[in-house]
Amino acid sequence: MIFLTVGTVLPFDRLVRAVDQAIETRLITRPVFAQIGQTALRPRNMEWVATLEKSAFDRKVAEADFVIGHAGMGSVMIALQHRKRLLVMPRMRQYGEHVNDHQVADARRFAELGYVLVAYESAELPSRLRQIESFIPVPRRSQADQVAQRIARFLQEMEGSLLRKHNSFCLGDLRGLR
């Protein structure tokens, strides 16, 4: 099964249409399950839903042979965590798919690092679909613990200084009483 996702927030008809087309022309022969967002588009060749709860989303990713998605970091993160092959199409500003082109830069960077394959335009999808069959992504290791530790240190320092302030305030009160 191939899991197709456009993310939680916005629809992305260009990608859904391209995949629907690829099934029609038998470029894709595996069954496709798609999460396509709130859109008027009705794909003809796949099972689809508008939105998925997080747990159902995770299950679909886990079950999939590979994932096709927009280049949103939520989708990319889950696919990489499950060590799935991932083909992304970035949302583009020129097509009104996002407020800017950060997904293009993200897709390019993650592809350069060997984590994903990219099709910027629908016309590139067929060749990337052939490539993904033998694609072995570089494993990505999260450093979330490191980042969380940095934040925890900030919070502890903040608590420490509040406590000092509190204590000196109390001592000041005592001195005032004397």
């Binding site: 997080k54 979330a144 608590e159």
Partner: protein, 153 residues
């Protein structure tokens, strides 16, 4: 005595929330509440704390930003957070600004999606944020006071 700081965890639905959840170990067990932009993600957040939903907005919809602003203002008044921790985007920016005005400390984690420079929201909060982390070393080099401490993805 100021023991358990109240932490506001603000992030729009989608990748921003996923990044915030990756950082669970630094806020879990604290007195925290969420501010996000879609009921779709509410289900995965309620087990960690109170969840507020405000309308999704961005730079292309200034009127909607106003709606989000009013929503955020209410939350700041009701909750009085000591810290606002955000991974973006517009909703995080607004909560950071209003939180700061109400005396909170601001922690900004710029999303991993910003590979070339800080996000627009990140650049807006930079003048008053107390801790700013980017997830790309190249981005940290471009700005004073912006740290790289690793990536959450």
């Amino acid at each position: 005595m100021p023991r358990n700081l109240r932490v506001c965890l603000a992030a729009s639905a989608g990748g921003h929330i996923s990044e915030l959840l990756q950082l669970e170990s630094c806020w879990r067990g604290r007195d925290c509440f969420f501010v996000t932009t879609s009921r779709v993600v509410e289900g995965q957040l309620t087990r960690f704390g109170r969840v507020y939903t405000v309308p999704e907005s961005n730079r292309q919809h200034p009127v909607r930003v106003l709606g989000t602003l009013v929503g955020c203002l209410r939350i700041v008044f009701a909750e009085r957070p000591a810290v606002v921790l955000s991974t973006g985007a517009a909703v995080g920016c607004l909560m950071a600004l209003l939180g700061k005005l109400a005396g909170a400390r601001i922690i900004w984690i710029d999303s991993i999606a910003n590979v070339e420079r800080l996000s627009l929201s990140g650049r807006l909060v930079r003048p008053f944020a107390d801790l700013i982390l980017t997830q790309w070393p190249e981005v940290a080099q471009q700005y004073d006071g912006v740290e790289y401490a690793g990536h959450v993805l």
